[in-house]
């Protein structure tokens, strides 16, 4: 059952096209996980996250500056190559300038019937962020209603919240099994699980997590766990890299990625006002570094993840040219060191130099173990 997630990940476009054919519904491509999918589910729209394909490409040069991060260029490349030609709309929530540029360039150069820019506040720690976002969500809801021709009632919103919350709770349960001394799945399998959830309908995904959970008991009992590592950083669905790390004699037990735990970590707490409850969830979720000001709330969160999942070391990855993450890394490294958790810093590109990274990962693992050598 667990293999299903990888299958979805690898056949994301086929899934979306089939869903459209089957339901006649609209598909919305979104660029950032601050997009409130609850409202899209309330409108019976299928949200799919736009991600790259990790292939060398030469199509984006005229459309986005080469010093924008590899991830946002890879995303745009997918659009330029026509791989998302089934989308009925695209949208983004304000997070960083690079991904917003990918969105804007897409809007300019790749025809799509509907597009929406949601000005998610960056200063989420301000008491004024919540009322601001509630106002923006109301405006966004009206826009979706006009686009789809369907009124979104409070009941619809509650339904959207339920779909999202159920999926988040299940992902959390799935992650929690990784706290075990013998995690029943690899970090790669967990990555396929969480990233595929951003590509397919939540109901299909949730059902499959439930079925998978039944098969986890005693799974991977013979697999050598090696060093327990956590991985921290920006967007990361570089499965080839993850596989290389685990093949060197390690298991990734938890992450702080927007494609990973940050995506599902907290749920919407219903309070009678669905839009406000949704807004609150996005204001309070584990933050991306572009929104983690003035206090750096990511650090206590990361340290508690490391503790709860018993990580012996951490891999810090960021997309090349990613300023927000670059700014956070020294503080994260230092905080981990103060808890005796060594870290290895690597910069991700569209494709990564596996040979060179393997040397660093192996040397890092040798540093964590190999007491036999001395």
């Amino acid at each position: 059952m667990i293999e299903m997630f990888q299958e979805w990940y690898e056949n994301r476009h086929e899934y979306a096209k089939q869903w459209k054919e089957k339901t006649g519904g609209k598909v919305m491509g979104y660029f950032c996980t601050y997009v409130p999918e609850e409202i899209l589910y309330a409108a019976d729209v299928l949200p799919v996250r736009i991600l790259g394909s990790h292939e060398v490409q030469d199509v984006t040069e005229p459309y986005i500056f080469a010093m924008f991060c590899p991830f946002c260029r890879d995303c745009l490349a997918q659009g330029l190559k026509g791989r998302y030609d089934y989308l009925d709309g695209i949208m983004i929530s304000q997070s960083c300038l690079h991904i917003r540029q990918a969105y804007t360039s897409w809007q300019l150069h790749i025809p799509v019937p509907y597009s929406y820019y949601l000005p998610m506040p960056n200063h989420v720690q301000s008491p004024r962020a919540l009322p601001y976002l509630v106002g923006e969500l109301e405006r966004f809801k009206r826009s979706v209603e006009e686009w789809t021709g369907k009124e979104i009632t409070d009941e619809d919103l509650v339904h959207g919240i339920e779909i999202m919350n159920r999926n988040r709770e299940l992902m959390m349960k799935f992650y929690e099994t990784r706290k075990a001394e013998k995690p029943p799945m690899t970090g790669l399998e967990a990555m396929f699980m969480v990233v595929s959830g951003q590509m397919i309908h939540k109901d299909d995904h949730s059902r499959t997590i439930e079925d998978t959970m039944k098969e986890l008991d005693g799974r991977n009992a013979d697999r050598k766990v090696g060093q327990r590592l956590m991985i921290i950083g920006s967007e990361d669905d570089d499965t080839e890299f993850i596989k290389m790390v685990e093949d060197c004699g390690a298991t990734l037990v938890v992450d702080d990625h927007c494609t990973g735990s940050r995506y599902f970590w907290n749920t919407v707490e219903p309070n009678g006002n669905p839009l406000e409850a949704i807004a609150k969830r996005y204001i309070e979720r584990p933050r991306c570094p572009s929104k983690d000001w003035g206090e750096r709330t990511r650090i206590p969160h990361i340290l508690s993840l490391a503790k709860d999942y018993n990580a012996a070391g951490a891999i810090l990855v960021q997309q090349k040219f990613c300023d927000p993450h670059e700014l956070d890394m020294p503080a994260i490294k230092q905080a981990l060191e103060s808890e005796d958790i060594p870290s290895l810093f690597l910069e991700l590109d569209v494709t990564v130099p596996i040979g060179q990274f393997k040397t660093r990962v192996e040397a890092f693992l040798e540093m964590l173990m190999e007491e036999d050598l001395f």
Partner: protein
């Protein structure tokens, strides 16, 4: 007969053997084979004493280079490969050493090798290799505690220096000495990219700069490049440099100047540090019964 113009970069390949030692007197004979991107070394040690080694260019085929390096190290001894109890493969081609018992990264091996060469007071090792550069911190046992590596570019590496030797028609062994035969220290070339730096150097030559001044400008740029790597890692004394560039006093002195720390000196061949580390690890594994 003059050397072909394209071969100024070509450093001498060699082997060495301890003439006073008989390998049959050793309890444990181990070896380290370091297959780097530019050079390969095979080191044979008896009871952690250097017994024989070779140093040569890496060919296009790593297993072949490993065999050749080992054959050459064995050449003047009356040993065969079977007389070696345990072999560690290291370097970029570490998994392609067909006769190795185990592979260990060059980062761990250089720290351990430097610990053997320079003694247990060594805390920071700069390995300046053919195509990459590693700044390593280690403890008194030579165990790595932190490290940084340059990214995918040849700036600040041996390959970069080879390109310059070629451009200036200066033998690679003379580059360091000549870099000091100047009236005053020039401004470093601005770019650290080998290709761009080469273009910049060509322009300086056309402007009438003497060769030595261009070499000095490139050596300073290279020193500054690795200095920033060291600074990011944090340097603790004692400090030493391993790898081929450690033999280039022009770069070494300029690194020392920037760091305001003198690098420890050794009579050993700095290029074999990684392979030495491998052989030392091999002995430990044999002694612990882990071999």
């Amino acid at each position: 007969m003059g050397m072909k113009e394209s071969e100024y970069w070509r450093w001498k390949e060699y082997n060495w053997k301890d003439e006073d030692a008989d390998w049959k007197d050793f309890d444990i004979v181990t070896a380290g084979v370091d297959i780097g991107s530019v050079s390969s070394q095979a080191v044979i040690m008896g009871d952690n004493e250097l017994f024989a080694y070779s140093n040569m260019r890496t060919g296009s085929d790593s297993p072949g280079s490993a065999r050749k390096a080992m054959d050459w190290a064995l050449k003047d001894t009356d040993m065969t490969l079977d007389d070696i109890r345990y072999v560690i493969g290291t370097g970029y081609g570490r998994v392609n050493v067909p006769f190795a018992n185990k592979a260990i990264t060059e980062i761990a091996c250089h720290a351990r090798g430097a610990n053997w060469m320079y003694g247990p007071s060594i805390r920071t090792v700069l390995d300046m290799g053919g195509q990459d550069c590693k700044a390593i911190r280690c403890d008194e046992r030579g165990k790595v505690t932190a490290f940084l590596m340059n990214d995918k570019c040849a700036a600040g590496t041996g390959r970069g220096m080879e390109v310059f030797a070629d451009l200036l028609s200066v033998h690679i062994e003379d580059v360091g000495r000549l870099s000091f035969e100047i009236d005053e220290e020039p401004t470093p070339v601005s770019s650290t990219c080998v290709v761009f730096a080469k273009a910049e150097a060509s322009q300086l030559l056309r402007q009438g700069w003497p060769k030595n001044k261009v070499i000095a400008a490139y050596s300073s740029a290279m020193a500054h490049r690795v200095f920033t790597l060291l600074e990011r890692l944090g340097v603790e004394k004692e400090f030493a440099i391993t790898g081929g560039i450690a033999k280039n006093e022009g770069v070494v002195k300029r690194i020392e100047r920037e760091l305001k720390i003198e690098a420890l000196q050794t009579d050993y061949d700095t290029q074999i540090a990684g392979a030495v580390g491998g052989a030392v690890f091999g002995k430990t594994l044999v002694e612990k019964g882990k071999a």
